[in-house]
Symmetry: C2
């Protein structure tokens, strides 16, 4: 699942499993919510503890340091972040595959905006904890998908633009609604939780993707 290009594994904390396993989960949930909003340094460990219904000391029993907790959150969220991209595969029609990918990513932006924001913050500060993943697992995955897109191009089933940009732009547009939700809501009064707004957004993104992938380029 995660190879040598892993997020550094923090010193193991007690895993004796019991009610303690539930605590662990609640801590990770609370930590994700906080870290995704205020970042690593902007988040206080006792805020997380309160959110999780524990004392600060007790939290530190489960995760020895704030940084270890942060890394644990990053690891737990990573798969959710990578997974939708895995689903693009040669078995599908390019158009259907891209439409499906957009749908998955937009659902993720609606249902798990924190995951998007967590990685956005991490990447924006230079990805000190994720550089290995970006250069490793993510790059491998992206390279694979880019190769597939190129094959589709050669077969004439996809437009001429550089496949990397196609992926970047799908990420950019879908994640925008998670990362900048405050701005989107401030300017339109709406969120992806409104089914009509969700659908309008999805169609606009799809039109953009279609423009990149399936239309004849202009002179």
């Amino acid at each position: 699942m995660l190879a040598g290009t892993d997020i550094p594994q923090p010193a193991a904390a007690p895993r004796t499993t019991a009610t303690g396993q539930a605590n662990r989960e609640r801590i990770l949930d609370a930590a994700l919510a906080r870290f995704a909003r205020t970042g690593l340094s902007g988040t206080r460990i006792d805020e997380i503890a309160v959110d999780a219904g524990l004392s600060k000391t007790n939290l530190l029993y489960y995760f020895r340091t704030k940084n270890a907790l942060y890394i644990a959150v990053l690891r737990r969220t990573l798969e959710m972040w990578l997974e939708p991209l895995r689903q693009i595969d040669a078995g599908h029609d390019p158009r259907a595959a891209l439409a499906h990918y957009v749908m998955r990513k937009l659902e993720a932006a609606r249902d798990f905006p924190q995951a998007s924001r967590l990685f956005a913050l991490e990447i924006m500060r230079g990805a000190p904890m994720l550089s290995g993943v970006i250069a490793g697992d993510l790059k491998d995955l992206v390279d694979t998908k880019v190769a597939l897109l190129r094959r589709w191009q050669i077969e004439g089933r996809l437009g001429i633009h550089e496949p990397h940009h196609l992926l970047f732009h799908i990420w950019a547009m879908t994640q925008h609604y998670a990362d900048f939700a405050v701005q989107v809501e401030g300017l339109t009064g709406q969120t992806l939780h409104d089914p009509v707004f969700f659908e309008t957004t999805r169609r606009a993104i799809l039109a953009a993707v279609t423009g990149m992938a399936f239309e004849r380029p202009q002179a």
Copy 2:
């Protein structure tokens, strides 16, 4: 320039102008670079001081508190952030206006990525310092441009998608290359400073915009 929906004005600091005005500038530059990377809480005031070639105490002579400095940086950068959008106006052909806007935004992503990141971080933490701007100046500006886009739609010169999304997606795609530059470079080995990469990026974005704005929607 900035109305009642302003960023809160911090207590005035000495403006006696001299060599001190130059210091002021250097502090603001250094602060922008730091804040745009590590955010308000992740940035230490003495790091900024060192970058600006001053002592921490001396920095605090010019800006009484870290927060006041942060607000000053935000204010100084705001116009750069808003300006490209102002240039879309009725005098232009829709296609040319959008192409010009994409160009401006992508140049900004290349030349002033810090501005983009600064506001991205601020918005992601819930925009505590910018909520007034978003609800005020930015909303007014966006509303004006959206109205223009709608007029173009009625005249049949623009596609059927919600104009807000057109703007959001242009922001998302262009700013992606600033905000996620580390990831883009990690995955492609390239940056917008490479003229070929810049041009390829620009064309892909334009194709997306064209898909949203000028192509017949699919069934």
